[in-house]
């Protein structure tokens, strides 16, 4: 295993208060997390606890009420392609083909550093990475939900982000497609070793993919409850892990947190 001890992202004591018609709503209180380069972090918690809010603050789409986000030593206040986001609902532009969707991102990020031919290769490389090179010239409404999510991931990867942010990327997919996507993601991760924050509500997914699982308490004023280090050898195989005692131990720890300590009433 590579040594992952170079601090990349510092989420420093974030509070998030939303002004609402019924008064202020404190969604997050004191969320504090340091993430090293190359780490795969999952954020797990009950629906509505504030996972997306954390991700949106890191992405720069929301401004934290207090505290801040420091990426590679610099504070970030606005969105940018070095923190690429994979949204839950793919959010591909329906009037563009899959190739053009990725192209929009690549042109924006590499306009000054890559030639037209290099950009084309790079777009195709990323679509190949997610196994979508066969549907480069199809539009989003001509491909399945899983395929759209693959293209969404390709678009994010093609920005060559310092941190890849994923908000329940496989949440809308059926179980088989989801398993397939998780395997693809691990494969890609072996190759690129990105720093990833992924939101999920699927315990198996969290244990299978993550280096650390960050478990959030219920809102309002949600914060980080526990952090679980997952020390399983990579590459991981879902079949072998199913019988692994260590794996099942991790699994039950997350389940205990979610369904005993943070039980939804």
């Amino acid at each position: 295993m590579t040594v992952k001890n170079e601090l990349l992202l510092d989420i420093s004591n974030i509070d998030m208060v939303f002004p609402t018609p019924k008064g202020d709503f404190t969604a997050l209180k004191g969320v504090d997390l340091k993430i090293n380069k190359g780490e795969f972090i999952s954020l797990i918690g009950h629906s509505g606890c504030g996972k997306s809010t954390v991700l949106n603050v890191v992405a720069g789409l929301y401004q934290a009420t207090s505290g801040g986000v420091i990426l590679a030593g610099k504070e970030v206040n606005e969105p940018g392609p070095e923190r690429a986001v994979v949204f839950q609902n793919h959010s591909l532009l329906p009037w563009l083909t899959t190739y053009q969707n990725v192209e929009l991102a690549v042109k924006q990020v590499f306009a000054k550093t890559k030639s037209a031919a290099e950009m084309k290769d790079w777009i195709e490389y990323n679509l190949k990475l997610v196994h979508m090179d066969h549907a480069m010239h199809k539009r989003p409404d001509e491909i399945s939900g899983g395929m759209k999510q693959r293209v969404g991931i390709a678009r994010a990867l093609a920005m060559q982000p310092e941190v890849l942010l994923m908000d329940e990327p496989f949440g809308a997919l059926d179980a088989l497609t989801r398993a397939h996507m998780q395997d693809s993601l691990m494969e890609i991760q072996d190759e690129l070793n990105n720093t990833v924050i992924m939101i999920t509500h699927d315990v198996d997914e969290a244990v299978l993919l993550s280096d650390r699982i960050v478990m959030m308490t219920n809102g309002p004023a949600a914060t980080i409850g526990e952090i679980l280090d997952v020390n399983l050898e990579r590459p991981r195989s879902r079949l072998e892990l199913a019988k692994d005692t260590q794996y099942n131990q991790y699994r039950s720890e997350v389940l205990t947190f979610l369904y005993e300590k943070q039980r939804k009433v």
Partner: protein, 332 residues
């Protein structure tokens, strides 16, 4: 009991027939036969109804009178064109003759001033409605985008739109006529004043639906796409060009179709009211004429106006099909 059995049997037969018929025949039946039946029944009611309505100008015209008039109106057009050609030929010959006698003579050419035929009027109306529509689109779509993007602009302009939207453009007509007469005073005008007046009237009624639909389309932009744009740090210009405009194309088309339909209706009325060339004037002239054929000629015009309105709408729909990415949006 017996009736129940009978019903069961017919049910069964129906499903047998359906199962045996290949789908293209069923589709053909639906697409061609049913509308034909509808039209036939309509023609029947029309004929019977027409026979029973007496007016001071004779019986109300039925389908057969209208068919006769279609032929008449077309022949009148052909004749008029022949007369026109003959007129120019005569003029040319006369000029040649004078020129042969006197080389210093400057030939005079006068334009033919025959009465516009039905077909001339159709063309005039079509050109007017399309020009007014295009002018409206050029103004309304950028304005709609600006209003959709800026909440403050929307708040500022919305009351004005809401007040002018329900005003029939016909109410503007006298004002437009007077202003055009006062302002458009070129000795050699590129367009006739009447054309400008009709066109502005069309523009006035096209603008509001287009502005409103465009701005609503822009304002209800999917927030995910806005986030994509933010993450990519697209410039304002690229954001509008790559995200806002394509995303609003379906809404823009909805507004365009809506306004073209209204415009066609309003134009005919405006032409009648202002005596400006076009189908409306044709109808009005025939009404004033009051001959025994007038009613059937007006009825012919009514049907032609309907057909053209239908074709305009279909054309817009086809354009929308081709240009809009949203293939699922209800297009009918």
């Amino acid at each position: 009991m017996a009736s129940l059995i009978a019903r069961l049997i017919t049910r069964k037969n129906e499903s047998v027939i359906k199962a045996q018929l290949p789908p293209f025949i069923v589709n053909f039946f639906k697409a061609v036969t049913l509308p034909s039946i509808g039209i036939l029944i309509f023609l029947l009611f029309w004929t019977v109804g027409a026979n029973n309505i007496d007016t001071s100008l004779g019986k109300f015209p039925g389908p057969s009178q209208v068919m006769t008039q279609v032929g008449n109106l077309f022949n009148e057009h052909v004749e008029s064109r022949e007369k026109e050609a003959a007129f120019y030929e005569r003029q040319e010959n006369r000029n040649q003759a004078r020129l042969a006698k006197d080389p210093m003579y400057k030939p005079k050419t006068r334009a033919y001033t025959g009465k516009e035929t039905f077909i001339d009027q159709i063309i005039t109306s079509l050109i007017t409605v399309l020009s007014g529509f295009v002018v409206a689109a050029i103004v309304a779509i950028p304005l709609g985008i600006a209003i959709g993007l800026s909440k403050s602009l929307n708040t500022a302009i919305n009351p004005i739109i809401q007040i002018f939207k329900p005003v029939s453009p016909l109410a503007w007509l006298p004002l437009v006529t007077m202003v055009v007469s006062a302002v458009y005073t070129s000795t050699d005008p590129m367009f006739a004043k009447s054309f400008i007046v009709s066109m502005i009237t069309v523009t006035l009624c096209c603008i509001w639906p287009m502005v409103i639909n465009t701005s609503v389309g822009v304002a209800s932009l999917n927030s995910d796409w806005v986030n994509v744009s933010k993450v990519l740090r697209l410039s304002a210009f690229t954001h509008i060009q790559k995200i806002v405009l394509p995303a609003s194309v379906p809404a823009i088309f909805t507004g365009m179709r809506l306004s073209l339909g209204i415009a066609w209706m309003v134009l005919i009325a405006a032409e009648m009211l202002a005596q400006n060339p076009g189908l409306g004037k044709f109808v009005w002239d025939e009404f004033q004429n009051g001959s025994s054929e007038s009613l059937s000629r007006i009825m012919t015009a009514v049907i032609v106006i309907g057909l053209i309105g239908f074709l305009l709408d279909r054309t817009m729909m086809q354009l929308q099909r081709i240009l809009s990415w949203d293939k699922n949006s209800e297009v009918r």
